[in-house]
């Protein structure tokens, strides 16, 4: 009762809280089937992150291993660990860094290998992304201080805001917390221009620039949940979007009593929450719903998963995007890497690494007038 009363009081005079609205896929976000039609390089369960080194060698995090992919996509194990690899990065000196959930290892396979598990006295809990800066530093996204990487949906449902962006000096092992209180820090990027690194806040559907004591929002109201960045060849970057936003999930996020009971009583796999992939389990929610409109009962099944990568320019304006739509399979995109003209995209939902020609993508979109 108090919850209802509080929500009524909050909504009084506050137009935003009266609305369940999500941004639309239009303009640069106009849907297409490019991701769905992309070539499949590798299909394997447990794929998590991608990174390319300066020589054009592609590495993929898959379960407890780091795979090295040949140009034809043939994988070979480069390194393996006792924990699941949750993030990858390459430093300018070529050193591979991996995140293992609650710790980060730099200089993998070298004599200078170092493990770091805390920053400024607070231990890492959910290392979701790493990024090697041009000045040799390593940016670490510790997404949540409460829930480990695999328990991300609980962090979302609890409106988690405990993420941190940390800078690690691999040589000295010294860490510095650049930003804290982030709504699930899921990706970091630094264009090297000195403007400060960018960090994606998934639960806030935006990207912040960390250029002072308080991060400033530079991209907001994304139509999905942003995850990792990948540098693009001609300035700008690729931003992967792991889920799309729906009014139903926004509604659940506002309904405290419902959400708490759902979290208390239902297996997280079947929550009304976004998902990296869907359609694999008959017990998933939202597969068969109905809505009565104009006296007719119509089928209604809001999507749980979606596939999306957005190309941003250096001016932070979206240029175009690649989609795997609701009926597709290549959903839950959470990593990308560009090598020359080839863009590799990791679809966690389908457990696949996809390959696209960037010039081909541009040509296709230009032909459709979407570029």
């Amino acid at each position: 009762m108090f919850d209802t009363l509080r929500s009524k009081l909050t909504s009084f005079g506050n137009s935003r809280s009266n609305s369940l609205s999500v941004p639309v896929f239009d303009g640069a976000f106009k849907p297409n089937n490019l991701l769905e039609e992309a070539d499949i390089v590798l299909e394997r369960a447990g794929l998590e992150d991608l990174v390319a080194d300066a020589q054009g060698q592609l590495f993929a995090a898959c379960g407890t291993s780091v795979l090295k992919l040949a140009s034809d996509g043939t994988p070979s194990e480069f390194a393996s660990f006792e924990a699941v690899v949750t993030a990858l990065a390459i430093l300018p000196d070529g050193g591979l860094c991996v995140g293992l959930g609650d710790r980060v290892i730099t200089g993998v396979g070298t004599t200078s290998e170092r493990s770091v598990d805390q920053a400024e006295g607070t231990p890492f809990v959910a290392v979701t992304a790493l990024y090697g800066q041009a000045n040799g530093g390593l940016l670490i996204c510790d997404a949540s201080a409460r829930h480990e990487v695999g328990d991300w949906s609980r962090d979302l449902m609890e409106h988690g805001r405990s993420g941190r962006l940390i800078r690690l000096d691999p040589a000295s092992g010294k860490t510095e917390v650049l930003a804290s209180g982030l709504a699930y820090a899921f990706g970091a990027y630094d264009d090297g221009t000195g403007g400060g690194p960018l960090v994606s806040e998934s639960w806030d559907h935006g990207v912040c620039r960390v250029d002072g004591p308080k991060p400033t929002h530079v991209i907001d109201r994304i139509a999905g949940y942003p995850s990792r960045f990948a540098p693009a060849d001609d300035g700008g970057f690729w931003l992967t979007i792991c889920f799309s936003r729906t009014q139903l999930v926004e509604f659940v996020l506002k309904e405290n009593d419902y959400r708490q009971e759902m979290m208390r009583t239902i297996d997280p796999r079947y929550w009304i929450a976004p998902s990296f992939g869907s359609g694999a389990d008959f017990r998933e929610p939202l597969q068969a719903g109905g809505v009565k409109q104009m006296g007719y009962l119509k089928p209604w099944a809001p999507p749980r998963s979606y596939g999306l990568v957005v190309r941003y320019g250096a001016d932070l304006i979206p240029r175009f995007s690649l989609h795997s739509r609701v009926g597709g399979a290549h959903h839950g995109i959470n990593a990308a890497a560009q090598i020359g003209d080839t863009l590799y995209v990791l679809s966690k939902g389908s457990g696949r690494i996809l390959k696209l020609s960037v010039s081909g993508v541009r040509e296709t979109l230009a032909g459709k007038g979407s570029l």
């Binding site: 137009s15 609205s21 999500v22 941004p23 639309v24 239009d26 303009g27 009014q247 304006i317």
Partner: protein, 497 residues
């Protein structure tokens, strides 16, 4: 065969100005005759003389070979000439049925009987209008239908339609064309005035072109094409300037300046979402009633969205909810109305006063005295910048042609230096020459980096102007196209199905 109506050397002068000068015109029995010309060419004056609304200064008029002198519209109606006016002449406070039988009432008028007769008559024309509704509650298209039905009821030998399709949706236009064909088959002659040249080419048997009050040429429609008509109308080739060129490039999208998310406004707008970007023309196409105008009126603060679950309007990254237009104007949104005569300007005020009125909403509090010098300067600047054709800036707006009135309305908004300019049907009731100039203005604004929205029901216009095309249907945007890939068929399919 004796023509139904013949005009010989007909002239109409207002003071020393010739509205129509030495025009010869013949209307054959059962033909559809289109009269074309720019605004101010004399089309309306010519047809008003036929309908007895104005009397010619000189010349003669013959009906079925007999000379007639029509002094009032009633005389014309009794002689068998009816006119459907460009602006509806219905009584808004009366019902559809009462309007239909206005002037033909019996001494004891049974309302039920009138309603039934009206219902039967409307059904015979395939017009879906409830005869018991008050005319004021009808949309423009339905009002036009009532207007047409009233002319039909008069059993005229000749019916003059002045811009009959300007407010009709494409489907309603098809109905209208069928109606004209039915009239023709019954031996009724139709005079058709329109700015839509394709319609004239499609529907008419003969075409007469006027320019500056003079007769330019008359011929069978088969002899004409669009380019020739325009050449005759304006005395120069405008086809290339307007819709002749296929679009080969579009402006890239800049920053997202306006985002409309899940907007709801009564029953008119349902869960509508769209974005508008800087440096681009976003075209919004849809049929009448698709919720386009209401959506953008909410954005500009002219109407309010639903309070609960009404969605969000995000302007430059910040949610906004305007209750009146003034804060919208201050925030940089300009909405240029589709109904300029009612919402666009003060018709008895001068051009410069109207333009200055636009600026008042941006003037800071305390600085509200009208300044004649500023007003004069603004008047001069905008009259020359938008090439408003007027004798002086002191001319009243109602003295101007439709195109020049539209330019004044545009100037009134542009003087506010907006960031987002929403043009709602910018060239409705505007002649071909002025259309090209208004298109130039719209393109110039986008080139200057402004976010421009063009709402239009005219497909060639929206396809030619837009860098991005949104199609609205049933209260929301249902498709986005690039003008490089879109065809008229694709847009119409999305708008209808």
């Amino acid at each position: 065969m004796t023509p139904v109506l013949e005009m010989r050397k007909i002239t109409k002068k207002y003071g020393r100005a010739f509205a129509v000068e030495d025009v010869d015109f013949t209307l054959r029995k059962g033909e559809v005759h289109a009269i074309l010309g720019e605004n101010g060419a004399g089309k309306s004056t010519l047809t008003k003389m036929m309908a007895g609304v104005v009397q010619p200064t000189s010349g003669e008029m013959l009906l079925n070979g007999q000379e007639i002198h029509l002094k009032t519209p009633a005389e014309a109606v009794h002689s068998g000439i009816a006119m459907v006016f460009q602006e509806t002449s219905l009584v808004p406070s009366m019902t559809v049925a009462q309007n239909l039988f206005l002037g033909n009432e019996k001494f004891f008028n049974r309302i039920r009987g009138v309603n039934i007769a009206a219902q039967q008559f409307m059904q015979s024309l395939s017009f879906d209008v409830d005869p018991t509704l008050q005319v004021a509650s009808l949309g423009a298209a339905k009002k036009q239908m009532v207007e047409i039905a009233r002319a039909m009821l008069l059993k005229a030998q000749a019916i003059v339609f002045d811009e009959p399709t300007a407010t009709l949706t494409p489907e309603e236009k098809r109905h209208f064309f069928d109606l004209v064909k039915t009239l023709k088959s019954h031996g009724v002659s139709v005079i058709f005035i329109s700015h839509a040249l394709e319609e004239a080419l499609e529907i008419s048997d003969r075409i007469t072109i006027l320019r500056d009050g003079r007769h330019v040429e008359t011929g069978d429609t088969a002899e004409f094409d669009r380019a020739r008509i325009i050449q005759s109308m304006v005395g120069r080739a405008l086809t290339e300037e307007l819709y002749g060129k296929a679009k080969t490039s579009v402006r890239p999208a800049g920053k997202r300046v306006l985002s409309i998310q899940n907007l709801r406004v009564g029953g008119a707008v349902k869960n509508n979402s769209l974005s508008v970007f800087k440096g681009q023309i976003t075209g919004v196409f849809g049929l009448v009633g698709s919720g386009r105008t209401e959506t953008f009126k909410v954005a500009a603060g002219i109407i309010k969205r639903n309070y609960r679950n009404g969605g969000e309007i995000i302007l430059n990254g910040k949610p906004v909810r305007y209750r009146v237009p003034a804060p919208g104007v201050k925030a940089g949104i300009a909405y240029i109305t589709e109904d300029r005569k009612v919402e666009g300007f003060f018709e008895t005020m001068s051009i410069k006063s109207n333009i200055y009125v636009g600026l008042l909403s941006k003037i800071k509090a305390g600085n509200f005295w009208l300044k004649d010098k500023v007003m004069d300067k603004l008047g001069d600047e905008w009259i020359s910048s938008l090439q408003v054709k007027a004798v002086t800036q002191n001319a009243q707006v109602n003295e101007l042609s439709g195109g020049n009135q539209q330019k004044v309305v545009i100037a009134k908004s542009l003087v506010q230096d907006p960031d987002i300019i929403i043009f709602d049907e910018p060239t409705r009731g505007v002649d071909v020459g002025a259309i090209a100039e208004i298109h130039d203005i719209i393109n110039r604004l986008a080139d200057e980096g402004k976010a421009v929205v063009v709402i239009s029901s005219y497909l060639p216009e929206v396809m030619q102007l837009s860098d991005r095309l949104l199609v609205a249907r049933g209260g929301k945007v249902v498709e986005e196209f690039s003008p490089l890939e879109a065809t008229e068929e694709m847009l119409m399919y999305a708008a209808v199905h």
